[in-house]
């Protein structure tokens, strides 16, 4: 960390202290506009969303102040019926919610693993010296640059059951004998989402891993070669441990992105129960049904899950995300 080391020669200590104090004071002033802005657009809305999850707010009562405080009822509510029967309701006993939770987890685990695997492969290729490497690197940036809405529509068209080129190709080589309704059928909807997501985000993973690969000193490989160590062993003993920090950071960023996924699923498989995620379900509750209470309860739970995940990951992986004390 670069810190200030003004030359102390011939200067009274007092003046030095003042200089440091002056810098700290200036730092606070410089940070203020950003902090105010973040409080306004992030902290306050987050606080309000969490508050809504404890009320029965709907699209009508959101602004007229008629929504009531209901405590944890949106999460879990015990209802005693007149016949003495006890009924539980709320997000935590909602089968749709748990379906969305498992979909999100399944999607995140599979997509991030596949992206790490393919990202590593692509990074290893790009780390070699060969003709046209620059072109390949440019080409893999294209999926990353394409807006998600566009990739969802583009792939939706390619995976179309009647006119899609994917079915056409697969039937052409005899892999399938009749067209598959990729995005509509509940068996293949998740697969379709995974294909598009892996296609779109592997480049990001590859570039981060490549940066890690390029930091490995060449002489480590040369030493291994002189000792006659098999390349596969070199990969597992030298390459993999050396890129672990870069890989960990890439994986955590991607995982956080995967856990909150919304647009791809909302656009590619709009009505499918097989792919609906926590974000999509919460959005439906809020926007389509106007149930701000329950929808906010869902988004709050997602927020809690993601926060726990980050804390756990940092504790287990000892990842230093800030890079402040290197």
């Amino acid at each position: 960390m670069p810190t200030l080391h003004p030359s102390t020669k011939g200067k009274p200590l007092r003046r030095q202290l003042n200089l440091q104090q002056q810098r700290v004071r200036a730092a606070y002033v410089f940070l203020l506009p950003m902090l105010i802005m973040l409080l306004l657009v992030a902290a306050w809305p987050l606080f309000r969303s969490i508050s809504f999850s404890f009320t029965d707010a709907t699209a009508e009562t959101l602004f007229n102040g008629q929504s009531q405080w209901v405590g944890f009822d949106n999460y879990l509510e015990r209802r005693l019926r007149s016949n003495g029967e006890v009924r539980w309701r709320g997000v935590l006993v909602d089968a749709d919610w748990w379906n969305a939770v498992w979909n999100t987890i399944r999607f995140s685990v599979v997509s991030v693993s596949l992206e790490a695997f393919f990202g590593l492969l692509v990074a290893l290729v790009l780390n070699m010296e060969f003709k046209g490497r620059g072109l390949v690197r440019a080409a893999i940036l294209i999926p990353w640059a394409i807006p998600t809405v566009v990739s969802a529509r583009m792939w939706g068209w390619m995976l179309n059951d009647q006119f899609g080129v994917i079915n056409y190709m697969m039937m052409g080589v005899g892999l399938i004998d009749k067209p598959i309704a990729w995005t509509a059928s509940s068996d293949t909807a998740m697969l379709a989402v995974l294909i598009v997501d892996v296609w779109k985000t592997t480049p990001f993973m590859a570039l981060l891993i490549l940066a890690g690969l390029q930091m490995i000193p060449r002489d480590m490989y040369e030493a291994a070669k002189l000792d006659g160590i098999h390349p596969v062993k070199v990969f597992f003993r030298v390459t993999l441990p050396m890129i672990k920090p870069a890989l960990m950071v890439a994986v955590i960023f991607r995982a956080l992105d995967a856990l909150r996924i919304f647009d791809l699923i909302y656009l590619l498989t709009p009505q499918s129960d097989a792919t609906v995620t926590m974000s999509v379900l919460s959005y439906r509750e809020i926007q389509q049904f106007g149930d701000y209470g329950e929808g906010s309860a869902m988004s709050t739970l997602l927020f809690v899950i993601i926060t726990l995940f980050v804390l756990l990951y940092i504790k287990l992986g000892r990842v230093n995300l800030t890079g402040a004390t290197r």
Partner: protein, 276 residues
């Protein structure tokens, strides 16, 4: 590194495969966008017919051009605003030691990664209270949630790398922190700001959830929402040709930008480690 002929062939096949998978979907979108009528519904690998009908169709819709203008305006203003706030903030975070700096950095990173849906209802209320619902400012305000932490984070990483000597020299000459930022750091920071700005621009340009939620009328939509809501006379009749033409129109500028600034983008992505 010596390789056998067989290994070489295998390696280049892998390279060709990577390139093909990367660019084929967009290539196919371009082919489709130039087809109309029945040709559209016939899968093919090479262009077989050529028609500009889809482009005429999309560009003759006033609302699409309007959406394009909205997207440009919103993304540009959001990025300009974020950079303005981020330059001073990242100076403080990168160059001054003060209590709670590590925690603050963690918080900023946390904000850039938390789920957008978690603030959706609160932000909806705020936007209505401020009276900017269904106006471009609603999106400028909400996009600040991810562009501001992102720009602060990446600029902080860049600013840390700058040598301490230049700053010391200025301080010895009696420069105030403000002078140090504007006269010493800003000229050195331009390349980093271009990179960061570009990544933030792509992020704002591509955003979908807030744009879908905080606009209602056709004239206020951004391009991603306009494409998502392009529909035919009935739900059975998806206007694929028009959708592909619109997709090509909004993607081409991005791809050109990305190819021009390729090296800078890679540097920015890896320095920040955060998705734009």
């Amino acid at each position: 590194m010596e390789r056998t002929v067989f290994g070489n062939i295998l390696f280049y096949m892998g390279v060709v495969l990577i390139v093909t998978i990367s660019i084929y979907p967009f290539y196919y979108a371009i082919i489709t966008s130039f087809e109309s009528g029945t040709a559209l519904f016939k899968p093919n690998f090479f262009p077989e017919s050529f028609s500009l009908e889809n482009y005429k169709n999309v560009l003759s819709q006033r609302s699409f051009l309007r959406s394009f203008a909205n997207s440009v305006f919103i993304a540009a203003v959001t990025v300009g605003f974020a950079l303005l706030l981020a330059v001073t903030a990242s100076y403080a975070l990168a160059r001054v030691t003060f209590r709670g700096r590590g925690l603050l950095l963690m918080t900023i990173l946390g904000v850039s990664m938390f789920p957008q849906i978690a603030v959706l209802s609160g932000l909806y209320e705020l936007i209505n209270i401020l009276g900017i619902y269904n106006k471009p400012w609603a999106l400028v305000l909400s996009y600040t949630i991810f562009t501001l932490p992102f720009t602060v984070w990446v600029l902080t990483t860049f600013m840390r790398e700058l040598p301490i000597e230049i700053e010391e020299a200025a301080i010895v000459d009696g420069a105030t922190p403000w002078i140090v930022i504007t006269k010493v750091f800003l000229p050195l920071l331009w390349p980093a700001m271009v990179t960061t700005g570009l990544l933030a621009f792509i992020g704002a340009w591509n955003e979908f959830l807030f744009a879908l939620t905080f606009t209602i009328s056709e004239t206020e939509r951004t391009v991603p929402v306009a494409i998502a809501l392009l529909s035919g006379a009935s739900s059975q009749e998806v206007p694929w040709g028009a959708i592909m033409a619109a997709s090509v129109i909004v993607t081409i500028p991005l791809i050109i930008l990305v190819l021009i600034f390729q090296r800078k983008i890679v540097a920015g992505l890896t320095a920040g480690g955060v998705k734009g």
